[in-house]
C-alpha cells in the first residue's frame, strides 16, 4: 500500500470503519512508515482536542437543573402512557387516543411555560447584571444599532414612550444587551422609588400579563408584546409589578405591532 492510499483511508481507519482486511493493510504500512504514523497521530490529536474542547466548554454546558427539570416534565407523559398500556378494548384504545392528545397538549403547554420561565430567569439575570450592577460580559449597544443588525423589536423600542401607571415611570436608560445567550431590548426606569427593567426578547408571548415568579426579593411579570415577549423585573412586591405590567402591556403591544 502506498502512502497516498493510506492517507486517504486515515479518517476511516481512525473511526474504525474500515473492513478488517483493509485495516490490516493500513496497520502493516504504519509499522514501517514514520511519516504516515505522524500524520495519523496529528489527525487523532485534532479529534481528541476537539472532543475535549466541546466537553469542557462552560458556554456549551447546560444549567445544573436542566436534566432534572426535563425528567420532571417528561415523567407524567411517560407514566400516563404506561397506564394506558394495560387497556385492551376498542373504547380503551379510543380513550387512550383522547388522553394521548390531551397529554400532548399538556406537554406542549408545559413546555411553553418552561420556556417562559427560562426566559424570565434570563430577564432577571439581565436586570441584576445590567441595570443594577453594570456587569455584563458583552457591552450593550444602542437600540438603533441593534435594530439594524438584528431587526425587530429593537429599533421600535428606542421610541417607545413609557406610559403612566399609578405613579410616573421615569426613564433611566435604554439599550440592547445580551445575557446568558439571549438578546434583549432593555429599558431601565424608576417606579415608586425602585429600579425596574422592561426587557423585550424573541419568544412565545403569554396571552395576558401575569406574574411568572415572586420567589426572590422582587417579582417578574411576563406580558405580550406583539410577536415578542416582554418582562417587567423589579424589587417590588407582586402587586406593584402586576400594576406596572398592566399599565405597559397595551401601549407596548400597539407600539410594536
Amino acid at each position: 500500500m502506498q502512502c497516498r492510499d493510506v492517507r486517504e483511508l486515515a479518517d476511516s481507519f481512525l473511526t474504525e470503519q474500515l473492513l478488517v482486511e483493509t485495516n490490516h493493510d493500513v496497520v502493516r504500512h504504519l509499522e514501517t512508515c514514520a511519516a504516515c504514523r505522524a500524520e495519523f497521530d496529528a489527525r487523532r490529536a485534532v479529534r481528541e482536542k476537539l472532543r475535549s474542547a466541546i466537553a469542557r466548554s462552560a458556554e456549551l454546558a447546560p444549567r445544573p437543573a436542566f436534566a432534572s427539570e426535563l425528567a420532571d416534565a417528561l415523567r407524567p407523559a411517560g407514566t400516563a402512557m404506561t397506564r394506558r398500556s394495560v387497556l385492551r378494548s376498542w373504547w380503551a384504545v379510543a380513550a387512550s387516543l383522547i388522553v394521548a392528545a390531551g397529554g400532548g397538549i399538556f406537554v406542549r403547554e408545559l413546555r411553553s411555560r418552561q420556556r417562559l420561565a427560562a426566559l424570565a430567569r434570563q430577564a432577571a439575570g439581565d436586570h441584576q447584571n445590567c441595570a443594577v450592577r453594570f456587569n455584563l460580559a458583552e457591552q450593550p449597544i444602542a437600540l438603533e444599532e441593534a435594530g439594524r443588525r438584528f431587526g425587530a423589536p429593537y429599533a421600535a423600542l428606542a421610541t417607545f414612550e413609557l406610559p403612566r401607571a399609578d405613579a410616573p415611570l421615569e426613564g433611566v436608560e435604554r439599550h440592547s444587551c445580551v445575557y446568558d445567550g439571549s438578546r434583549f431590548g432593555h429599558i431601565v426606569f424608576r417606579y415608586d422609588g425602585a429600579l425596574a427593567s422592561l426587557l423585550v426578547t424573541a419568544g412565545e408571548p403569554p396571552d395576558a400579563p401575569e406574574i411568572v415568579t415572586a420567589d426572590g426579593p422582587g417579582a417578574i411579570a411576563s406580558l405580550p408584546a406583539g410577536q415578542f415577549v416582554a418582562f417587567i423585573v423589579a424589587d417590588l412586591d407582586r402587586g406593584r409589578v402586576m400594576r406596572l405590567a398592566n399599565a405597559i402591556a397595551q401601549p407596548l403591544a400597539r407600539h410594536l405591532a
Binding site: A42, S182, A202
Partner: protein
C-alpha cells in the same frame, strides 16, 4: 401510534437509556443554536419525540446516535418552517476546488482555538465533524441523522477536516485576537 403495551417500565427504561445523554445533547444543540433558550427547547422537543418513539429504539444500539438523529430532524423541520434552509452547494464546490495543501497543526492549541476554528467552517462541515469526530457516530449513523447519502457524509467530512486543520494552522501565524463572534441574534 400507540405506546408499547408490553412494557410497563417504559418510562424507567427511557430514563435509564436516554436521559444520561442530556448533557451531550444540550452541548450539541447549543453549538447549533447559539442560544440557550432555543437549545433547551430543541433538546426538550427531541426527548418528547424520543419518548413517544421509544418502542422503536432497539436496546443495545447507539442511543445517543438515535437521539441526535431525532434532534437533527426536529431542527430541520423548524428551519424549513421558518424558511431558513440554506443551500450552500456552491460553497462545497469551492471547497472541492481550493483545499489542496493541508499545513501542519501547531502543537499548542487551546480549547478556544479549537472551537473558534470549528466555528469558522461552513455549517454543514461543522455538523458532520461534530457528529463523527465529537459524538463518534459511524458514517451510516451520521447519514441517517442528516438525511443525506453516506457518500455525501464522507465527502463533507474529508473537506471539513482539511478545512479545520487549515484554520488551526493559522492559529500559530496570526495574532491571538481571533475569537468566536458573538453572533447572538
Amino acid at each position: 401510534m400507540h405506546a408499547d403495551t408490553d412494557s410497563p417500565g417504559r418510562w424507567e427504561a427511557f430514563q435509564a437509556e436516554a436521559m444520561p445523554h442530556v448533557d451531550r445533547l444540550f452541548r450539541h444543540a447549543m453549538w447549533l443554536e447559539r442560544n440557550r433558550t432555543e437549545a433547551e427547547d430543541l433538546v426538550q422537543e427531541t426527548l418528547v419525540q424520543a419518548l413517544q418513539s421509544f418502542h422503536r429504539f432497539a436496546p443495545g444500539t447507539n442511543c445517543r446516535a438515535w437521539l441526535l438523529s431525532i434532534l437533527h430532524h426536529v431542527r430541520s423541520g423548524r428551519l424549513r418552517k421558518q424558511g431558513r434552509v440554506t443551500v450552500d452547494s456552491a460553497i462545497e464546490e469551492r471547497l472541492a476546488n481550493t483545499v489542496v495543501f493541508v499545513p501542519p497543526v501547531p502543537d499548542r492549541l487551546t480549547d478556544e482555538d479549537m472551537l473558534a476554528a470549528l466555528a469558522r467552517l461552513p455549517e454543514r462541515q461543522q455538523q458532520v465533524i461534530l457528529l463523527s469526530d465529537v459524538e463518534e457516530m459511524t458514517y451510516k449513523e451520521v447519514a441517517v441523522a442528516l438525511g443525506v447519502p453516506i457518500g455525501t457524509v464522507m465527502s463533507r467530512l474529508h473537506r471539513g477536516r482539511e478545512l479545520l486543520r487549515t484554520e488551526l494552522a493559522r492559529v500559530g501565524v496570526r495574532p491571538q485576537a481571533i475569537g468566536r463572534e458573538s453572533g447572538v441574534p
